[in-house]
Amino acid sequence: MSDAPAIRLEGVSKKYRLFASPGQRLREALDPWRRSFHEDFWALHDISLEVPRGRTLGVLGLNGSGKSTLLQIIADVMEPTTGTVEVKGRVAALLELGAGFNRDLSGRENVITNSRILGLTHREALERLDAVQEFAEIGRFFDQPVKTYSSGMFTRLAFAMAICVDPDVLIIDEALSVGDTRFREKCYRRLKSLQEGGCTVLFVTHDRGSITQLCDDAILLHQGRLVAQGSPREVSGLYTELLTTGRLPDDAAAVSVPTPAPAQAAPDADAGGDPVAAFLADPSPEDRLARHPLYNANEARFGHGGAVVLDALLVLDGVANPAAIPSGAVLDIHLRLRFDAAMDPILGVSLHNEQGVLLYGVNNAYLSQELRPAVPGEVRCLSLRAPLPLAPGPVFIELAVASERHRVCDQRSRVLALEILRGGMFLGLADLGFTMQEATSPP
């Protein structure tokens, strides 16, 4: 790699002082006896970190975990309360979805001013204008006041500017979550070429797929502390666990994490070794889906009764109920149902994305799979095999049972949530598996 780290933080902590009013802050700053008028809030505790030159570090953490504060300190916009920060070279930062743009000036003027602030000469700034304009693809809006921009255009311009000033360190705080997929992919490609050119990148995103794809290392912040540091896959696994369970495994306080299973066993299934066998053998008529680790408390439930979806077990490569799975993986879904009336049951499963778009839906009738009639009081398990070549992002599973007359007995929409991680590169909602090769010309 290289000699000195591009970014070095030692014992960095940040205390925010919370005041009842801005006037109290002024009073404290000017008080001749240095009395205190505030309450403390520690946003960062004792963070020590080194990022070697040319590496890309992903920063993960829940909202309020201190990510943005950390980046603001590295970007030198904010001063740490204690500790030292060393950053080598020109830093371009996209903090909290933005850049230092004056809303009343045009995109062109803002780009020139910001390039100058980042250390370019006036001439250099003018030379790069075309490249910025071309990358941003905002057309005539380039000469309109920034306040007329959509949030997507704003981000495009900010990102285009940041990468065109040849930064040594590039800080991106969730900037890429705005903007359409096509532009995002373009940004990723450009990021790759910046990385190859030796640019050190700090990257905050909630898209765990792009963390694993773009980053060399990752860290996880939780309540202002650096709780994990390691490979992107390991750390994003921990993050997923934090997201779904709200807490970390006890050993995660150690800075380096063991290879984590991005998974947690179903509450009752881990007793017997093989979770699938245990699940299928469990005769309980109790509705346990609300205790499922992937349960979405915002599920929409509807039905006339007669049958109930009791529980589910999702299995990937022997791991029970993984919160995140790579795009293209094949998931085994086992369901337990209870029937309170006699019927010829119809079982349906469908998937929606975050925007509520139906990605795929199917039932046993479509699959020409006849299910044997149910009798009252029966508890029965059914299994599905589900290849998921989907676009990265959250996916919500809907489970439904209906009687033969298409009367809905129990329909649980968005009942389970899981995250699809980036696999191969493609645009759109699903990977249709195209292939390509050079055509050989006929002789």
């Binding site: 603001q72 970007a75 030198d76 916009v77 001013t113 910001n114 006041p145």
Partner: protein, 266 residues
Amino acid sequence: MARPATFPEIWRSRGIVLRLAQAELRNRYSGSALGVLWALIQPAMVMAVFWFVFSYGLRVTSPEGEPAFVARLLVGLAAWFCFSEAVSNGAHAVTGSAYLVKKVAFPLELLPLAPVIAAVMVHLGVLACLVAGLALGGSWGGWRLLHLPLYLAAVSLLAAGFAYWLAALQVFQRDVAQTATLLLQIWFWMTPIVWSFAMFPPEVATVLGWNPMAYVVDGYRYALLPEVAAPPALHHALSFWLTACLLFASGVAMFRRLRADFADVL
């Protein structure tokens, strides 16, 4: 930039201050057909109104005889406009630039200078028109004009001192700029622009003479109007420069003490 900027950093960024000053002007008049010309039209109109009211309405004449009241009035107004514009815009220098404070590493110490420089740029335009007008009217200052940079520096330094104080305080207490605008209006009438010391008994005139802006206004008149016999008194000059330097130094010190909190508050 979170920590106080060092002098080399400030010096390296001087080009940016000019850009910010230009941007401030362009922004203020963006969308108007006449553009930056408004920066000249506005003071010209106010000057015309004052001229009309005092010369034709109230029929004020200069007790000193020569130079004519009108010339004294216009020169005084020009100097005052520069000062009041720099101070009242300077109060918003940090709050109006939250986009820079929170998003990019930037020597914040430069922010209050941008509105002052913008006001001086407009002022140079006004002065050019004024000097040309006076020359056409037969009142050419000649070598006296070389004194002008001194008084221009004086008004800039005084305004910058206020700008640092007000810009820093305004971040925490938004009433600051409003109060400043009000006090500026009172100060205008305390300054010998539409009146002159000769209208008052000597004891009162002596007290009013310590007003720092009186030194500036008198200095401008000395530099621009050949009929004015003497520059401002030495003791007034000394007290002005002492006041202005103290105000500037304390303003910068104050600014640097409070700046670490700017990003937290804005």
